[in-house]
Structures are given as C-alpha cells and as structure tokens.
Amino acid sequence: MVPVAVTLAAATALAVAILVYANPAPPGTGAFWIIVQARLVSLGTILLVAVAQSVATVLFHTITANRILTPSILGFDALYVLSQTALVFLFGVSSTGMEGIPKIVAQSALMIVFATLLYGWLFSGRRANLHLMLLVGVVLGIAFASTASFLQRILTPSEFDVLSARLFGSISKADPAYLPIAGLIVAGILVYVWSRRRSYDVLALGRDVSVGLGLRYRREVVVSLVLVAVLVSVSATMVGPMTFYGFLVATLAYQFAPGDRHADVLPLAIGIGLVTLLAATFVLRHLFSAAGLVTVIIEFVGGTLFLIVLLRKGLR
C-alpha cells in the first residue's frame, strides 16, 4: 500500500497548493475564503473526473481482457457529445418538458443504453481481433465527433448556446450545480465496484474460467459496460472528452501496483489519476496561467505514452 499512500499524500499536498497558492487576498480574511471556495469547485471536479476515468478504464480493461483499449479511445466520450447534440437537434431546447438535472439524467440514460448496445455488439464474438476493434472504435470516435460538430453547425444559435453550456465544461469553469449529483453517482459506483473487486479479479481471467468458477459472466460484463458508460458520461459532462487520460492513468497504475488484484490496482489508479490532474492543473493555472489547457497537455502526454506502448509492446 506504499504507492497508494505516496500518491494520496502528493494529491493532498497539490490540492492544498491549488487552494492557497497565489491567493491575492491576505490569509484568513473573507476574500481569501471566497477565492478558496471558488477553487474548491475545481478540486471537486478534478476528484470526480479522476475517480470516474480511472475506475472506468480499469473496469473496461478487465472486461475486455486487454490493457490497450480504453473507453475514451474507443469513442465513448465522442458518443456522449453526439447523443447530447442529437437530442438538442431533434427535440429542441425545452420541448421534452424536463429541465435541469432530470433532463440530463434522462439524456445520459439514453446514451448509456446506446453505448452498451453498440460496444456490447462490437465485443461479442469478435474477441479474437483486438486490432480490429481498436481501429473500428477509433474511427467510430471520429465519426461521432464529426457528426456532432456537423449537427452543432445546423443548430440555431440559441440551441447551440444551451448545448455548449452543457458540453464544453473545463476544470477551470465547471458548473457547481452538477457536483452533488455527479458526486453521488460516482461514489455509488465506486462503492459497488469496490465491494465486487474479487469478482472482477475472477472476471479478468477470462470467460471460461469465470463461468467455471460460478460467475454469471454475461451479466457481469453488461453491468460493467453500463457502469463504464455512466462514469464516462459523468466525466465528459464535467470536463469534455479526454481521449488518453484514462489510458495514461491505468498504464501507470499497472506499472507500479504491487499486484494484479483490483484491490491493488484500483486505489493506485485513482491516486495516480488525482496526482496527474492536480499537478497539470496547478502547473498550468498558477505557473503558466493557461488553465484551459489542462486537458490538452494530458492528451499530449497520454497520446505519446500510448504510441510508445503500442510501438514497443504491440497489442496483447
């Protein structure tokens, strides 16, 4: 548990640093605390995104029995953006009669069903060819992204306004209204996944072993896919698509975890996810004053790592 402790200590230090560094008001005054509070929203967002992406990626790796494909690389995020856009495009801004959070929940539910069907189909029976699935997923991601931007161009400006307020979040300007419900969802899933960590250890051994050991394999896989879709849509709502972040975090976690069990990997993945995002935020916001670029930097580092892994190890 040493690596986990190290990452959590580093994450705490970075979190405190983000809260108080370069706070223009003198410490202890009212203004000081107002600024700290505003930064707390960023921290909450980072926490949720880190947990959601790391858990989603590790789960996805387990059920697909590989360590290269991640939901984001396969276009889950882009699918989320597309489904949100398509709903606004088809039904307008408020014709569904729902507003605010219920509407988002309903829309996310639709996307989750769609993602589960699509990726369930993609992964059924074609397990043998990982390269094919990876390429198909990547290209589907391009298709989703292009179609979404295409529809966004046709929206009326007021519809686009509503949509962009919902889609293009970033760590520096996340909407605090979503934090409580998103936090509840992520926490719930985290508790569920943790309570079933031993089942996931079995699931990682593959279909035949799982069935032999008495696991309802198909059911487990479908439930996990749904959870992954939920987590990714939460993360995409908060900060927009991040293709390589989950890959970066999970790869590092496998590298440094003391064992292969989910009890080892999951906490470390969350810890590394936190440190990565917090460090990127701190450096870019306070040292380069370019807070909007956190996700771009993570794309760059994560993408490079992905290329190196792909080139050195190929796909296993």
Binding site: S146, S149, R153, I154, A290
Partner: protein, 332 residues
C-alpha cells in the same frame, strides 16, 4: 500485410474490358454533379444583373477547387497506400495533415509577413517531414499488421494536433487553427483558388509515375531487382503526397479520410490495378468531395457547414464498413 496489395479480384480485367461505357458514364455523372455545384448558392446568378460576374468570381473558382483538391487528395491517398503496402493509410491516418497544420501555425508565429506561396512551401515541407517520420516509425516497429499501421498514424496525428493546439492557445491563434482543421470551400474565390493548380501538377505526376510507384510498392528487393530506384521513388512519392496535403491545408483545410475512402471503394469494385484505377480515383475523389460540399451548402441554407465535417462523418462510416467487410472476408 503485403497481401493487401495482391488480392486482385479474379476476373476483374475481363469485366473491365466488357464495359467500355463505364468511364464515360462516370465522367458524365461527375459533370452533372459539378453543374449542380455551379448552380446552387445564395446569390441568384440568372436573375440579378451582377449574376454572371458573381458566377465567375465565386462559383467557377469554387467548383474548380473542388475538382483540383478532390482529385489530388484522393490520388495521393492511393500513392500512400501503395508505398506503405497498406490499404488503410492516407494523409489523415498517418498524421501528415496535422504536421502540415503545425507548419502553418509556425509560419503564422515566426514569419507572419510571408505570402501564400511561402506558407504553402513551409506547410508542404512539414507534411513531408511528417510522412517521413511516419514511414520511419513503421520501419522500426515490431508489429506491423494491416491494422496497427493506421492506428499508429492516427495516434501520431492526435499527439501532433495536441501540440499544435497548445501552441496556438499560448499565442491566441486558436481561431485560426479552427479554420485549418475544418476544411471548407466557402472562402474560395477568384484570386485565392489559383494556387491549387499546383496540386493538379501533383495529380499529373502521379499518373506519369504510376508504374514505378506500383513496383516500389512491391518492396525494396523486388523493385531494385527490376531496375527501379526504390529509395528515390519512395521519396518522390512521399513528396507528392506532402505537396498535395500541404497546399490543400493552406487553401482549403483538412479533407479527412477522402484519400482513404475513394481508392478503397475503387479497388473494391475494380481490383487493384493502380494504373487503370487512377482515372477512377480522380473521378471518385472529385465526386465525393463535390457531393459533400453540396450537402454542406444546402443543408442549412444560406449558411454553410464545412465540407470536412460532412466528409469526416461519411468517410469514417465508410471506413468502418470497409474494415468490418474485410474482417468478415477473413482478409485481416
């Protein structure tokens, strides 16, 4: 992976000889599309007194640009596929266009006064470097299955575009970047499209070099054995691809997956004879880009949707279909 090139459909030559009307019919179809492209737009060219003037200022240059860019990008996609011996490689899936955009950004940052020609040269040089980097990586990787190659290219492109986006954001050029990443023929008018004739020369050179490129695509040993200078053809072919990518990026912007979809569909129908497929690739590239441009122009009149978005959506769906089809046939 070399099997991708040698899977000529049996019986295809016989079928080809049996249809002498096919090529003229395709030319006629493309001409009809171009006629449609000339006739639609927000301005009433027949009724208004400035009609004919507008026709020559915007419609004709735009339609010519569609032909030039579509033909060049589609043929250069074919060249890349032959040279890398991989069906799924083109400027989009090798990161080449992203390098061109990086070059363009650097000229905007470091040499802001440079003219259109200078921009095109630098952007083409960067595209060339990018294509060479891609080919260099391909030589060194352990696993080179048909599918890993385009994946490496797409990831390379993603990393390059993250770098470019970061640079652009640092220097407040993000908006400019947006117009390069989104290819559109909306701003093509007289005085701006003329430089695109450069890519017509590229297309012509590909026609002249078709046989040598085909032989080079068979591999270094074989090509050298029949007296083709392998390295020279490789560099020349890559340079042609780079010029096409660089120039279209400067003038029009990205045309994603055009160079992948068109040659693949052509060889699906006609087999893999590069030389006799070339006219079809030119026609197909022109037709697809014109069709997508017409869709982009009419779907939200009088506003325009950039052609690259239509192409990206259509192209990637076709790409997935091609992949699944080949997988089903057991070719992958």
């Amino acid at each position: 992976m070399s099997q991708a090139l040698t899977t000529d459909t049996p019986g295809a030559p016989a079928r080809r000889r049996g249809r002498p009307w096919a090529l003229p019919a395709a030319v006629a179809a493309v001409l009809i599309l171009l006629g449609i492209s000339l006739s639609i737009g927000a301005f009433d060219i027949l009724g208004d007194e400035f009609g004919s003037e507008m026709f020559w200022i915007t419609r004709v240059p735009r339609t010519l640009a569609l032909v030039l860019a579509g033909a060049a990008i589609a043929t250069s996609g074919l060249v890349m596929q032959v040279l890398t011996q991989n069906r799924f490689v083109d400027a989009t899936t090798s990161g080449t266009t992203e390098w061109a955009a990086l070059g363009l950004l650097l000229t905007a940052l470091l040499l802001p006064g440079i003219g259109l020609v200078g921009k095109m040269v630098i952007s083409s040089v960067f595209a060339f470097v990018g294509a060479m980097v891609f080919m260099g990586i391909l030589r060194r990787v352990v696993i080179r299955t048909t599918l890993v190659v385009p994946l490496i290219g797409i990831m390379l492109g993603a990393v390059m575009s993250a770098l470019t986006t970061f640079l652009a954001a640092q220097f407040n050029l993000l908006q400019m970047l947006g117009t390069w990443f989104l290819g559109s023929f909306g701003e093509i008018v007289r005085g701006r499209y003329e430089v695109l004739w450069v890519v017509a020369v590229v297309t012509l050179l590909v026609f002249l070099m078709a046989d040598r490129i085909t032989v080079a695509g068979l591999g270094k040993d074989l090509a050298t054995g029949v007296g083709v200078r392998y390295e020279a053809i490789l560099v020349a072919g890559t340079a042609l691809v780079a010029v096409a990518a660089g120039v279209t990026t400067v003038v029009v912007g990205f045309l994603p997956l055009l160079g992948l979809v068109v040659p693949n569909i052509v060889s699906m129908i006609r087999g893999d004879d590069v030389r006799s497929n070339l006219p079809w690739v030119v026609l197909g590239g022109t037709a697809l880009v014109t069709l997508c441009d017409i869709i982009g122009r009419t779907v939200n009149m009088p506003f325009e949707v950039p052609v690259s978005l239509v192409l990206g959506a259509v192209g990637s769906v076709v790409f997935v279909a091609l992949l699944l089809r080949q997988a089903k046939a057991g070719a992958l």
